[in-house]
């Protein structure tokens, strides 16, 4: 392989494997900027991933799968919003509960509908369905477009759209104000609960989409191990990206680099794995996130009211 070929192939892999991280990470960005912590990204991805396969299985059309996965994620988001916004429950407890629920619940569905606790049968998916088939024929860089299905496309465009939304629109300003100081937002006539509800539901939808991007974007089936911790890396990417959409995009690529590097090294230079075992590459994003948070590598600051339930009529 020539150097250029390797670079192109690495970029393609980054896009492919970075997509779920970006989508779920954006889900985190959306909700945490409205002041609701969502550590249930993992569970919501699992729910989205399963229902995407289920939708495709029922209809034979992966697009319906995508939509079902997105809706399932959004419903999980609605549940999280209900508990953490309306009932003012502990957001972390609620997130943990949804993760636990998703773990058992999806296994239950897998057994119920596919009679297995392993993986579902193959369904129609977005593999080999590039969004721009014409561009795939371009020599050399065509490979990049061959992996660019709808999910990858969304993953590289949404960060910019969300950035524009958060920092350039009136809704975005209100959205962030709720995450920074909900009481102030309330006194300015902004409906804090509504903003938070919408944010958490969209967050769930994005996490659901992220799950779908694995099950019907990278594969054509749902495996019971999914998403195997990707939801937590997405959380890490969001923190690494300083709670900002484009930052999260970059962080997600950075983290994916560790996984991709490990795959390429395995095929191209396996002797390196003798010196630095695979486990180190895989653990790298997590260790890095801890180091960043501990202030060894830069400092990250969350939105001021992140994780704080808001109660209208609270005594001043």
């Amino acid at each position: 392989m020539s150097i250029i070929q390797i670079i192109i192939s690495v970029i393609s892999s980054l896009l492919k494997f970075g997509t779920p991280l970006i989508l779920a990470g954006l889900g985190g960005v959306i909700t945490e900027n409205a002041g609701v912590v969502n550590i249930a990204l993992e569970g919501m991805m699992r729910i989205g991933g399963f229902f995407a396969v289920f939708g495709s299985y029922l209809t034979g059309n992966p697009w319906y799968g995508l939509i079902l996965g997105l809706i399932a994620g959004a419903i999980a988001g609605l549940l999280h919003a209900y508990i953490s916004v309306s009932l003012k429950g502990n957001q972390i407890v609620s997130g943990v509960a949804i993760n636990i629920f998703a773990l058992g619940g999806i296994t239950f569905f897998l057994e119920r509908y596919f009679n297995t606790t392993g993986h579902s049968p193959s369904v129609n998916s977005f593999i080999d369905k590039p969004l721009f088939p014409i561009l795939v024929k371009i020599p050399v860089i065509g490979e990049i477009f061959s992996v660019m299905n709808i999910f990858v496309f969304l993953a590289i465009t949404l960060p910019f759209i969300i950035h524009f939304y958060l920092y350039r629109t009136s809704w975005g300003l209100r959205h962030r104000s709720v995450g920074e100081n909900p009481k102030a937002a309330d006194t300015m006539g902004i409906n804090v609960y509504l903003v938070r509800y919408i944010a958490v539901i969209i967050s769930g939808a994005l996490a659901g989409l992220s799950g779908a991007s694995i099950s019907i974007g990278q594969l054509s089936l749902f495996d019971n191990h999914m998403p195997a911790g990707l939801g937590f890396i997405a959380l890490a990417a969001m923190i690494f990206g300083k709670w900002k959409p484009i930052g999260t995009l970059i962080a997600a690529f950075f983290f994916t680099m560790a996984t991709v590097a490990q795959i390429y090294i395995q095929t191209l230079a396996p002797h390196i794995l003798k010196i630095i075992p695979r486990g180190f590459f895989l653990a790298f994003p997590y260790i890095l996130t801890i180091l960043i948070l501990a202030g060894f590598v830069g400092r990250a600051v969350a939105p001021a009211a992140d994780g704080v339930p808001y109660e209208k009529g609270e005594k001043l």
Binding site: R168, L173, N181, T187, L316
Partner: protein, 525 residues
């Protein structure tokens, strides 16, 4: 028959009333914050509402602003009866509120803070920053409230932040402005500027509701004054028909005695010596600059000053919560090296913190557990690694009697006690610690008169027992009443240290406002 004449009358009256409140009652769990309150505020009037902490002022304002819904009673704004109020509705009706704790978003720019909720947009969604900045500039000039529209709020001084708050409500077209204790956080100059602004607003036809517990400033600025006590209106007076003393009597419910409960004692040797200390505040700039003083046995040294002039940081350093940048602190001639609460406590320093809920008590703990907080490793309360529960019980019962903590049940959770009784737990604990030095930081904040007298008496008693007491208070009367010497802090510096018998309230006031400065050599260090 024609129209009912009384009905007709009300309608006419409505035209001149900005706000009318009828029989408002609001109950919180265990507290009646507002009890059957009624009054009218005329258009273009500066109407002051005064009362002690906890009299129900803030609750009342939050009802007017729609943050709370009253349990019963009606509110009329501009003659319209308000049902199901919300801040949005209040804003629509022209009510604007400047909160005591600013409702600003530090990370946002001045403009973003002001336009939030009513942004200028192109095609309804995309922010029109240019237009926003322009319009902020315009109202800022119109009302002579100078701000830089593009600066981030976190970089502004408190006074300027308050301007932003006022601009916020003016931007929303407020005709009725509610200012909740606006001078509490201001320097004297800033207060003066604020009063000028308020008068300017009145000239422009705005109605201003001014909430305060400072009598002087209310008499200076208001047209009429309503006095609240225990959630009830105890009187509404025109500015001319009342006096400071009159208002004070109404607020407290009896004549206020400005008399010291203390006897004089001879100060002993120095136990705490602070030499040239400088402390860095949260924003990374020095908030205490080069302060020196000595505290002797059998004396109370009062530190007077307006809030936010470095008192909090000074106390934090003296109790080990904040490191000092330079200088030395000596306790009994020993230089303190390790600035941690446990080390300083070990040296015999007790402390009544200013915020009892945050720093003084573990609210979910029982009364007896709070009475031994910090002393759990002492012999009476533990046997090696185990707690000595019978020892703790016996001790607590004694203290509950001695300090009259009610209800008399050591096993109650502390959170179920009233504020005054919670404070008694702290006072009991800290005094029983038998310290050499007692630092009392706003020890009577938020207490009723009875509890205040109780705390004062205990502090004076401690002085009689030969303790050295450092009293930090925002209430000048408290300082004047209890101290042997008075230090005045202004902008992080001691601008004067006087003996009590040489100090007049007026002089201290001037020092507090930074209008005067005592020469260094005259200070009674």
């Amino acid at each position: 028959m024609g129209r009912n004449p009384t009905l007709f009358l009300t309608e006419v009256k409505d035209l001149v009333n900005a706000i009318e409140v009828k029989n408002i009652t609001k109950v919180f769990p265990e507290v009646v914050a507002n009890d059957n309150i009624s009054f009218e505020i005329k258009k273009g009037e500066i109407f002051a509402i005064i009362g002690e902490n906890g009299a129900g002022k803030t609750t009342l304002m939050n009802i007017l602003y729609g943050l709370y819904t009253p349990d019963s009673g009606d509110v009329y704004i501009g003659g319209k009866k308000i049902i199901h109020n919300s801040p949005k509705k209040a804003i629509d009706l022209g009510v604007g509120m400047v909160h005591q704790h600013f409702m600003l978003i530090p990370k946002f720019s001045v403009t973003d803070n002001i336009v939030l909720g009513q942004e200028f947009t192109v095609n309804g969604l995309v922010l029109d920053q240019k237009k926003s900045i322009q319009s902020v500039r315009e109202i800022s000039e119109k009302y002579k409230l100078k701000v830089d529209p593009e600066e981030k709020v976190e970089n502004l001084s408190v006074g300027v932040q308050q301007r932003v708050e006022i601009l916020k409500v003016l931007f929303r077209g407020a005709v009725i402005l509610i200012l909740d204790e606006p001078t509490a956080v201001l320097t004297p100059q800033e207060s003066r500027e604020l009063f000028d602004t308020i008068r300017a607003l009145k000239e422009q036809g705005k109605t201003v509701i001014f909430i305060s517990h400072k009598l002087k400033e209310v008499l200076e600025i208001a047209d009429r004054i309503a006095v609240l006590k225990n959630g009830r209106v105890v009187g509404i007076k025109g500015k001319e028909e009342t006096s400071e003393k009159d208002l004070a009597r109404m607020m407290v419910g009896r004549d206020v005695i400005f008399e010291s409960p203390k006897k004089y004692a001879e100060p002993g040797e120095v136990t705490l010596a602070v030499e040239n200390i400088t402390i860095i505040g949260d924003k990374g700039i020095p908030t205490v600059k080069n302060i020196s003083f000595k505290l002797r046995k059998s004396e109370i040294l009062g530190i007077a000053g307006i809030e936010g002039n470095g008192q909090a940081e000074l106390v934090e350093a003296l109790t080990g919560l904040r490191p000092i940048e330079s200088g030395t602190i000596k306790i009994n001639d020993q230089v303190i090296e390790e600035f941690t609460p446990w080390n300083i406590r070990k040296k015999g320093v007790a402390h009544i913190p200013e915020d009892r809920r945050k720093r003084g008590l573990i609210l979910p703990f029982t009364v007896s557990y709070n009475l031994i907080l910090g002393r759990q490793r002492e012999k009476n309360f533990s046997r090696s690694i185990l707690l000595n529960n019978s020892g703790i019980s016996k001790y607590s019962e004694g203290k509950i009697d001695e300090f009259d903590i009610r209800p008399r049940n050591k096993n109650l959770k502390t959170e179920s006690l009233s504020g005054g009784n919670q404070q008694k737990i702290i006072v009991a604990r800290e005094i029983s610690y038998n310290p050499e030095i007692l630092i009392a930081s706003q020890p009577t904040r938020g207490l009723d008169v009875g509890a205040i007298e109780f705390v004062h008496k205990r502090l004076v008693d401690q002085r009689e027992f030969g303790k050295a007491i450092l009293l930090i208070s925002l209430e000048l009367e408290e300082i004047m009443m209890l101290s042997d010497r008075i230090a005045v802090i202004y902008n992080g510096e001691f601008v004067g240290i006087l003996n009590r018998n040489e100090a007049s309230e007026e002089e201290i006031g001037l020092l507090m406002l930074g209008a005067k400065r005592q020469p260094k050599e005259e200070m009674r260090v």
